[in-house]
Symmetry: C2
Subunit: 134 residues, 2 copies
DNA sequence: CGAGATACCGATACTCAGTATCAATGAACC
DNA sequence: GGTTCATTGATACTGAGTATCGGTATCTCG
């Protein structure tokens, strides 16, 4: 995980700490959450590093309808997100059919298509279970 | 456009002003933009009314990667947005194929699909023209 | 290794979108 | 017209993110 070095950035203790932290995380996390777990790292540095990692494509940001944006390790190249509307947990999915369809729609629309972003809103299995058992 | 009255809200001067303003708008607009055009309406009231109109389905919010969220009159029932990555202008589109596909994908994914949100990132014709003429 | 250039750091103060509070107002209903 | 209570605007606040800046650590090169 020498993404930053590869891009000409320095390897520093705060950056290593942040990268190590988010490698462990399976779910999405907020910037504030990183700060809580790494109290020795300054707030500004957290936002700076998150921005670097975004640009490097290591993580992706998810702007949810309310609440702070969530970040998540991006495990595969191009992908989209599932978001549980109850608990806010974030997952990833990929579907070649979508990509093909979005390319087709891009052709039908005035202007030049350059990308897209898709969110699938779900109620995750865990939340379904909790709802049942109540 | 008696959306608010229909939902049991009162018809007040600020609310009428805001609704009149955004009926004229073809493109997306920000909350701050409303305030600039309606300086007599208090800031809090603008946000309050925007929230009401969101809940009523009259407008929709678009959380762009950076910058303030944009709102736009929602002209048709269920739709998705095109966003120009240069100028930020917002459009709407609909495609039955997408809806069918998203339903199918929802079935393949753990949890219960309850909705989705799709953004098509484009460079709009106007921005393409400007780029050419330079 | 040692020195110099400079990227990076944390603390702090700031911006900007949105929200809570609250006294005053004015719709709605009779 | 009078009562009620939703709504208003001013103001103060929150919370995410950014600018600034003096000090520090990393890199590079000799
Ligand atoms: Zn992702
Ligand atoms: Zn895609
Ligand atoms: Zn819309
Ligand atoms: Zn454009």
């Amino acid at each position: 995980m020498a993404v930053l070095e590869d891009r000409g950035h320095r390897s520093t203790a705060p950056r290593r700490a942040i990268i190590r932290f988010l490698q462990g995380k399976q779910e999405g996390f907020t910037a504030e959450e990183i700060g809580r777990e790494l109290p020795d790292v300054g707030r500004a540095t957290i936002f700076r590093t998150v921005k670097l990692l975004l640009k490097a494509g290591v993580i992706c940001r998810l702007n949810l309808p309310d609440g702070a944006p969530k970040y998540s390790l991006s495990r595969v190249e191009h992908h989209h997100h599932t978001v549980c509307v109850r608990c806010g947990n974030v997952g990833e999915f990929r579907a070649a059919t979508i990509e093909r369809l979005m390319r087709a729609i891009g052709g039908d629309i005035p202007g030049e298509a350059v990308g897209h972003r898709i969110e699938l809103h779900i109620i995750c299995n865990q939340c379904l279970l909790e709802a049942d058992s109540r």
